[in-house]
Subunit: 274 residues, 3 copies
Amino acid sequence: MDQLKEKMRQAAVTARNTKPLVPSVTNTITNTFVANAQLAVGGSAAMVFVPDESVSLARAGNAFYINVGGIFPVYEETLPAVVRALSEARKPWVLDPVAVGIGKIRTSILSLCKEHKPTIIRGNASEIIALAGLWGLHENHTSTVRGVDAVDPVSAARTAAVALAKWTGGAVAVSGATDLVTDGAAVVLSHGGSHFMEKITGAGCSLGGVAAVYAAVAEPFVAALTATALYNHAGRRAGETAKGPGSFNVHFLDELYKASADDIADNPFEIEEA
Amino acid sequence: MDQLKEKMRQAAVTARNTKPLVPSVTNTITNTFVANAQLAVGGSAAMVFVPDESVSLARAGNAFYINVGGIFPVYEETLPAVVRALSEARKPWVLDPVAVGIGKIRTSILSLCKEHKPTIIRGNASEIIALAGLWGLHENHTSTVRGVDAVDPVSAARTAAVALAKWTGGAVAVSGATDLVTDGAAVVLSHGGSHFMEKITGAGCSLGGVAAVYAAVAEPFVAALTATALYNHAGRRAGETAKGPGSFNVHFLDELYKASADDIADNPFEIEEA
Amino acid sequence: MDQLKEKMRQAAVTARNTKPLVPSVTNTITNTFVANAQLAVGGSAAMVFVPDESVSLARAGNAFYINVGGIFPVYEETLPAVVRALSEARKPWVLDPVAVGIGKIRTSILSLCKEHKPTIIRGNASEIIALAGLWGLHENHTSTVRGVDAVDPVSAARTAAVALAKWTGGAVAVSGATDLVTDGAAVVLSHGGSHFMEKITGAGCSLGGVAAVYAAVAEPFVAALTATALYNHAGRRAGETAKGPGSFNVHFLDELYKASADDIADNPFEIEEA
């Protein structure tokens, strides 16, 4: 655990010192928040939509973030092209399978991601269960995704998360009251956050974007865990003084920026076997 | 009036307790604010753009919000499909005819809405006058919509609002210094708000989104009035401590979240005959 | 210099008193911030995407803002149409060449802008150098744009900025630690701001949008300088009390709104020959 904490500290410090370029194809509902969160932790953000720009930035970036909330028609061309470019260039990338199960374009893209194996998958419990189902990795459980909000507890997604991580060889982060991060062998439970995180749009999306920043400078499991621990730390701190979701949102960005490497590494977590 | 207040209290409480799913096809300028406002009052938000996802969420949702600000080409397919799906499924939905009169796609969609009769129409005075004109319900007045901001006072839109409400059988809410809500029989004038509401983009759009949340749990007139009263209450409160539009925006979201059912029902209003 | 300051005061006051309509085709990452900043200084904002709406608002507006961050496919039709409409109607307009060099649509549009001569060009140092290169005005320097963030200091863009201003006959504003504004004859160095301006997405984009508001009521050089001075004043003030980028963002919008004409004119600057 001390070794893991040290790696988390290094990820946090390296992101701030090297300003990795982490472009995204992400949704227009939360892209401002994603960009601001990425900037707060030291990354350089760039959101794109059309195929040639996306492929060009997939090659130029240090890591990439794909979030399938808010699908536009052009994504049908853009996302397969960018996923292939990331694979070819062996770049780390994060997939956020928002609202998996809804719509033809989204389903087609998320199916394609199976063979290209995202470095990190980040979602709520319902999304992780549904993605494992879509990929045929997980037959015993089902989830009915309802819009973009989770209807399952994190614990219900544990088997699905482990199965996904084993398949990709990367890491999976499940967001909820207690967050779960796994590399298929170990399962970390990370504590903290705030009830306000469900009351602001983009808490999950921006966590994916921040995980991509750390994925540019650390191995997948450490990157996913560092982002999750930071969010739990910043959420707890912001929740202590927030008067509502508006001020929580502001404090939360401040806390993302202010968090030290020790704050992140010392955020409470436990490790278990998968 | 006591009966109406009691219904407003019930709408506020039921929205918080049942977390209705209220998807939107809305614009990318204000969609973050719309989602955050919907979450603040207890709703579950989901923004979509492409036809199949929109139809699927129109059927799955408890209510729906359509806002035609920021038209994309795909809306030419998406919005007719979603309007028809809402009609068929008899779902409550709110129409915000932002910038009516500008552009071929917008005009075509808003014309189509006439026969499908939105449950609630929410706009500024100029938009309400122009929509009544577009639908041929209102020949004596004209409005020149100028961008997205109103150039007419709310009182000038009274006849148009009543005509629209009579046509749809639902409710119409006109936003301005004093807000007007009508079901075609009664006209409510709702007081409060803040001059800062004109200084933040999305105050009107998010009011439409919140009205859709209440439309999932209350009759159209009550839903429109509850949303309007809440906005007047939260705007007044936020304006008391804001130092500018930035802090107003933050305080306003906090106040939307903090407002009790009594705060909403007790916000000053008068009822008149239409 | 006193004469220039007086013109800046007039620009600030006239914008607040006349509420110019300043529509934009701009990106969905920062459009909320652009709109809120334009509203804060007295403008009326309206964001559009499709060709007919954009042309219609280009003709109706008092000035226009084009920002090529976040290209959508429809921009391939929209932007040439709007640039031609602005030229024909002789409207003042601001071009923000975000991420120039990336992508076919962006390059094609930015090339087309050369002959139509934007009233004001606003960019970071890397973008200004790259745009002058694209237009063949500047052969001795090169810049490698990396995503959307500058990798060159403002001073490195001085020759490029002057060359662009001479070509257009308008003004060029280069954003950085010390900002540079030129009309091709004079070069103004404007001081202030905050290190937090690099930590919030949209500081540059919204400066372009505010410059467009002032371009509706003042000559290009004065408009660019007024917007730049305001941003340096508001950034400095907001930075004094911000606890992080979240609260900086809020304070900054408040300060944009609160800044008096004297605050803007008295923000420190120097004039040099080009």
